[in-house]
Symmetry: C2
Subunit: 139 residues, 2 copies
């Protein structure tokens, strides 16, 4: 099986050691997330951001059939970021690179998950799930 | 390290073999996702759903500091669902149970990811990242 079979790619980013002010600035984060979405090559269809009191920002950019999301904990210097794109054209890593430069985390981890692994062969239809590198065949 | 240290829990759901009409019904999906969010115990703060032509629905329910998201491919009977909650009170598995009953997938996989693993001990501050069961210590 190949990666090309997946409908989408989903990058989970754990960003630690970010600046308090960056993580608590809703307007700045919203702009950065929209810019990041556009850099993947996707079309932005909706945006929803919220500022929490006393601190923290949540927001989602809905792109064509997928989304980018962020939740920040300024008090911990931490942001949870999701970059989910579908199709061959959109590249979620372009959003990642842009956001890395924006948030400048001291420590970061990423995990890329393939979403929607569909495989069709000539003589049967089956579904393969590749989240852990294994394929489950439904005959 | 314990699970209690994580700021949030994020369940990635791959739902295969769902009915076409269920996956293409934006109004129904929006209602189900809001109901699912409320069942976790979280507070809904924003909602953004879109219907795509000729088929497909995308939507996000922003809850207090986290989100629930869905993207459907009716033509493949597939939905990618994300259930991300934070805090001790919210339980993303309650949303999962409700959505399982709503979408009735023939095949489903789930993956629970801990988001924002923060640990503080007496003599040092460090950050542990547990996405693969390993801890990275920053001394």
């Amino acid at each position: 099986m190949t990666n090309n079979q997946a409908l989408g790619r989903h990058i989970l980013v754990e960003a630690y050691g970010c600046g308090y002010n960056i993580l608590d600035n809703m307007r700045g984060i919203q702009g950065a997330m929209i810019e990041a979405a556009e850099r993947t090559g996707a079309t932005v269809v909706d945006v929803a951001f919220r500022k929490f009191e006393p601190y923290g920002v949540s927001g989602v950019v809905v792109i064509s059939e997928s989304h980018l999301a962020i939740h920040t904990w300024p008090e911990y210097g931490y942001a949870a970021i999701d970059l989910f794109t579908c199709g061959d054209k959109a590249d979620p890593w372009k959003a990642f690179e842009y956001l890395l430069d924006y948030f400048k985390p001291k420590r970061i981890t990423t995990m890329e998950i393939k979403r929607g692994n569909l495989i069709t062969t000539e003589n049967k239809n089956y579904i393969a799930i590749d989240s852990a590198g294994e394929a489950i065949v439904d005959e």
